[in-house]
Every structure is written in C-alpha cells, then in structure tokens.
Symmetry: C3
Subunit: 305 residues, 3 copies
Amino acid sequence: MHDTLEHLTQLLLDSYARIGGINYLDGKNLPSKRMIAEITLDLLRLLFPGYFDERVVHSAELRGETEARLESVRRRLENQIDKSLEYAPPPGVQTEESRPLAATLAREFLQQLPELRDLLATDVEAAYGGDPAALSPEEVMVAYPCVEAIAVQRLAHVLYERQVGLIPRIMTEWAHGRTGIDLHPGARIGSHFFIDHGTGTVVGETSRLGDHVRLYQGVGLVARSLSGGHSLRGQRRHPTLENRVTVYAGATIMGGDTIVGAGSTIGANVFLTQSVPPHSLVLNENVRIKVLAKPTHSPGPDYQI
Amino acid sequence: MHDTLEHLTQLLLDSYARIGGINYLDGKNLPSKRMIAEITLDLLRLLFPGYFDERVVHSAELRGETEARLESVRRRLENQIDKSLEYAPPPGVQTEESRPLAATLAREFLQQLPELRDLLATDVEAAYGGDPAALSPEEVMVAYPCVEAIAVQRLAHVLYERQVGLIPRIMTEWAHGRTGIDLHPGARIGSHFFIDHGTGTVVGETSRLGDHVRLYQGVGLVARSLSGGHSLRGQRRHPTLENRVTVYAGATIMGGDTIVGAGSTIGANVFLTQSVPPHSLVLNENVRIKVLAKPTHSPGPDYQI
Amino acid sequence: MHDTLEHLTQLLLDSYARIGGINYLDGKNLPSKRMIAEITLDLLRLLFPGYFDERVVHSAELRGETEARLESVRRRLENQIDKSLEYAPPPGVQTEESRPLAATLAREFLQQLPELRDLLATDVEAAYGGDPAALSPEEVMVAYPCVEAIAVQRLAHVLYERQVGLIPRIMTEWAHGRTGIDLHPGARIGSHFFIDHGTGTVVGETSRLGDHVRLYQGVGLVARSLSGGHSLRGQRRHPTLENRVTVYAGATIMGGDTIVGAGSTIGANVFLTQSVPPHSLVLNENVRIKVLAKPTHSPGPDYQI
C-alpha cells in the first residue's frame, strides 16, 4: 500500500511538472479567492449597513464601525491589488512602483463608495417599483438577489476601469456563484437597473446598458463565438441596450454591432442578432398548438414529444 | 492617510443619512437572514430525518432529538415572526398583541409538519417515478435539488397564507441561492410536483399548479411586466397549470389569465401568453436547418452566426 | 405548551413510521453528503495544486503535501465507497467482500488522477482559446465555473463507470449547487470541452460528446419525458454531439437517437428533437419585429406584451 502511495505521488508530481497552465507553484502569488470573497462581503456591508451584518447597527456605533471596516478593507484590498499588479503589471509600471500604486488604487476605489450608493439606490428603486410582488424596499434588500449581483458588478467595474487584473472577475464570479447572475465587470450599466429572478442571466464584457433597463432570468447579452479568439480582445463584442429596454426570460441578444433601440421590448426566448429601432417589440412567431382528439388517461401528460 | 479615512467615513455617514431605503439603522429590527437560514435547515431535518443530518439517526434517540429540535425551532421561529409582526403589523393587530400572536403562529405552523410530509412524499414519488436516471428514492433524496426547493416552498407557503411578512421570501430565496430554483411562497402547488434539474426555474407569486405537474430547468411561470406596479398587487398575475401538465426546459408561460389545460405538454423554449385547452401540445415551429456545402477545417465549428 | 410539544412530537414520529421513502433511519448507512463534498474539494486540490488551496504551495513541500492528501482522500473515499456498496451491492458481491472491493476501487480511482489532469488541461486550453474575455489561463482557473464543474464530472464519471452508487451523483450535484452546471456522471465527454457561463446547462446521463464541443449557459442535452419510466434505464435517452459542435445559450437537444453532426452550430433557444448532418446550422426562424408608430413616454418600455 505504501509503495502504491509513493508511486502515485510520483506520478502526480511528474504530471504537475509536465503540464503547466493548470497549476501555479512558486510563481507570482495570485490574488486569493477567499480573501476577495471576504473583502467583497465587507464592501457590501459598507454599502448597505444593517443588511449584510448579522446584528442591528445602531447610529451611535456607526461611525466607529464604519471607520474600522473601511480601514480593514483598505489594507486587505491593497494587498490583493499588489498581488494582481505583480502578476500582471500594467504597461510602464516597474516592480518597485507596484506597492505605492496598489495603495493609491485601493484608496481611490473606496472614495467611490458614496457615489456607488447613489447609483445603487436607483437600482433598489427600480426593483421595488417594477415588481408588484415586492411589498417594501426592505423586502427587495433581503430577498432580491439582483441587489447583491448588481452591487458587486458596480464595485468590480471601478477596478476593471483602472485595469486591475483578476480581482474584478473573481468578485463577479463570487456573486455569480451566490446568485446565478453573471455580470462581467467590464459592462457599462446605467441607472435604475433591475434583474428579476436572474438565474442564468449573463451580461458580457463589452455590453452597454442605458438607464431603466430591465432583464429577466436567463437573458444573455453575449458575443458571437468567432474563431478570431484573442485578436478580438478590446473590440465591442456584446450588444448595446438603450434606455428603457425590457428583455424577457431566456432571450439572447448577440453581437457588438447589435443595438436595441430605446423603449423596446424583447419577448421571451428570442434570439436577436441584429439591431432594432427604438420602440420595437420583438417576438418569436408561429407557436403551433395541437389538441389531441382522444385524450389518454395516463398519469402523465397526454402527449409525448 | 488618517485624514483620508476620517473624511471618507464622513462621506459615507452623510450618504447613509441622505439615502434611505438601502440601509436600515435604529429601525424596527428586521428578521435575520442568517437565523432564518438556520431555522429552515432545522425544519428540513424535521421533515426528512437522517437526510439533512450529519450523522445517522437511530430510532432509540429519535423521540428525544425530535422533541428537542421542535422546541428549539419553535422558540427561534417565534422570535423571528415577532420581528416580522413588529416590522409589518397585520391590520388590526396592536403592538402589545404581537408577541402572543407570534407564539400562536409558530405553534400552528409546526403542527402542519406531518401534513406537509404527506405532500412531500408525493413529490419524491413523482421524482423517482418520473426520471429513469433515478436509481432509488434515496438517490432522489440526496441528489435532486427539487426536493429541498419544493419542501422550503411548501413550508414558506404556510407562513405566507398566515400573512407573515418577509420570512417566507427569505426562506425561498435561501433555497433559490442553493438550488437555482425560485419558487415564490405565494404559489399554490398540488401534489406530485416534480422539477427536474431546475436551475433557472421560476414559479411566480400567484401561480396555481394542479397535481402531477412536471417542470424542467429554466421554465418560467411569470407575470407580464406592466406599468401598473403596485396597483396590481393581490391580483392574479401568473398562470394556472391544470393537472398533469409537463413544461419542457426554458418555456415561459405568462399572465394571470393564461390557463394551460389538463394533460398538456409545452415544448422547450415556447413563449406562451394565451390559454390552451386540455390535451394540447404547444411547440415552436419553423426551425431552419441549413447544411454547408463545403465544410471548413477550422478547429472550431464550421459555421459562425 | 409542553403537552403540545409532546403531542406534536408523537404526530411526527407516527408520520416517520408511516411514510417511508423520505426518511432513513437505522437503515444501511448512506454515504454522507458532507464527507463527499470534503473529499471532492480535496480531489480538486490534487488536480489543481495552488488553485483550491488557501495558501501558496511551494515546490519544496509539494511532495509531502501531495502524499498526505492522497492518503487522506484514499482512506475517506474507501469508507464512503464501502457505505455505497453496503447500500447497493453490485451483482454477485457478498457483504464480506465489500470492504476489500471498496479499498480496490478507491485505489484504482486515485490512479486515474494523472490521466484526468491531461484531459482537464485540454479543457482549460479550450476555455482560454475560446473566450476573448479570458486574459490568461490563470484567469480561467480562478474565474470560470466550468473548470470545477467539468473536473468534478470527469472524477465522478470514473466512479460511475465502476458502478459505484450514489457517490458520483452526490459529487456532481455538489458542483451543480456551486456552479449552476448540471453534468450527469454518466455522460461520456471528449477532450477540449468548454462551457461558457454555464448557469442552467444540463448534460444528461447517456449523452455522448465528441472533442472540441462548446456549450453556453442554459443548454440542455435531455431525454424525452416518457411514461416508460424505469424500463428505459440503461437505454440511450440523451443526444450525441459529434466533434466541434457549438450550442448557443438556451438551446435544448432531446432524445437518444438525436445526433448532431460534426462541426454543426445550434442557435440560441432552438428546440431540436431530430438528427442533423455534419456542418449544419440550426436556427429558429420568423422572429417578428414590430415598431410602434407613436412611442409612449412612460418610464418603462413602450410596449407591453
């Protein structure tokens, strides 16, 4: 048995040595998924005090708590950004400059929080106003996964714009795992953004969304699958949705030159690969309905495809 | 640096003071998401002893364990319901009446558990009977996410019917996060309910489902997105599925006046906004198939959309 | 109150005694979901050292760590397989043979790890090469849920092929809960497999996938819902995708005799229930676009379905 174990260990070590790309040893120290998850949760607590905490926050202690949490996040985020800069230094940045740059980026990032709160307040307003099932803004806060997914995207977008590598994607992927909503940090998203239910909804890297956009579950704003590969990087690959566009469940909108005009509605399960003018309604046609003349009496459905 | 921190803290505090609706301080103490998650997990253990526990439960200790768990859940649930009643008092209920009412509601809720077990047994039976891949009822219990999602919906529905606020939605949203299945506590659902795979499946608040309904992943029973907003509250907004209806993956059925007749089958990715009679088969038509005359020899697919 | 508690406990105990199938007491000890989750996470650490660990792994300590982890996984997996064999003994295996058989199965399983790493390296390559948004293989490793979902399926498939019950499904369901990607352990999947986004994607038990297959979110490779039930077990019920097939978001491909020929592309939201020859492009037709003559000036979309 022990021989087997030693032999198997050797086979695995050989494999680690032979195949790069799926292991990361002695290399630059990547940002840590677990640390970034903890930082992101603390950022949500700073954005929405009293909602992501486990206890009620009282006004008297709010200043002290906020200051301590800000400082703790700043310090940990600086560390993670430093790892990211070491791993993928921005053009023209020398190794010895990375620590001060990380400190600046972390500080500037946190200065965006009040502005992000203004924007997120419009999202909560859109969710509350847009769903008759929502009984109060508090219900939106405690029971709508889009609040968390959108907040994390807006946070990650700030880092993405500053060209910090890996961390923004780890942040949004953390939210994707928790909510089923996959919003790329690169997407530019206007105010009053509402995603209802949201499981399976995807907003790709170069998407642009106006204000008052409303998406349902399973909606994809996606790229064509082209063989161009990495030569396409940096080009627009995902669609533009102008103001007041609603996209129903399961619709897929594809391509960097596809523009959905303001006020349009895209029906469920539509696959749209071309632009439509403002005020459009897009639907699939030709649903066929067939009724059985002689119903069966099986315990299951009468008709089997 | 410290100046910056103080300044940033002040900016955030100003923001907390300015924007209500997304923070909740010194207000009525909302039910806690974490506490409700723990209570819900204990309720699942009471419903399915031996499946959500980490150790085998022996008959000899079952009475003692069950009694202790029931009492613990009762006490914690009463506390959470009390918070909910304080936050949103039902019409005609005075503040001093809320604690006794919470106690009554918690007790009456737990008395439903045996009846819920009868109903859930029909759901497990439907899953086992309906999927050739299921090798045993035990496999259904340990590896089908619908069991947990449906159980939590049926629990939450009892509280929803008694007009307890927030808690039912926090319960089903907890299950949504774990399973990808989003069942609103308001939906009325018959026996033998089976959801296969289930990621992205949505059943809206005013849906009504008969017995032996079977849904696949990505199915939505949803409301029209109307500008009526909260004036629509309480009205039927979601469809009715009569007995023995099967809905394949990704189909969306919309609207409070849409009735899918008994025994009907709705094909994958159909968007249905009208009623269909019993024994209907509804499919999308006009799938177009085009075959390339000269295949490419690229490493990817031959055709790019 | 105490009377009520005793009475309610009795009602639940009566229910536990009356309804089998949804509780499991004093029976054979089922494999534990929690233990299998821990084992699976350790297997991911063995496959991808440095990615699922919380700290950097240095080469100097790699041999010791790998050997210790292998031995720990072997021991725990043997225990779980033993429970599985007790619960569902393979034909011709006596009770006293189950422990040695479990030991053999666990050892042989671990010997597959180097080979699985070769295969998984092709999957990471396909993801990196196939998505212009991926900036590095490291980004694929830390931020693409398909890596984890596919790795767990390939691990579970080895146990499935050796007819180990329950454990493979518990493993893939664990990954399904974390990623939204539901890959049955029975599916036979070629090299260079890429699933982008992946929430809601389902690959059924008897599916067969060639090399260089690419699926997007919400794609289902599913079975017809037939009343044959368990008589269908073991038969092909899910489709075949030949080499270099791409399936866009939300498409559903159904049936054991459905073959999608090499190099084909299936458009978003197609519902395909028949075979198509190699080099096919399959799209839904007849999307209808209607433009309002007089736009409204509501805050929402102009058109409501």
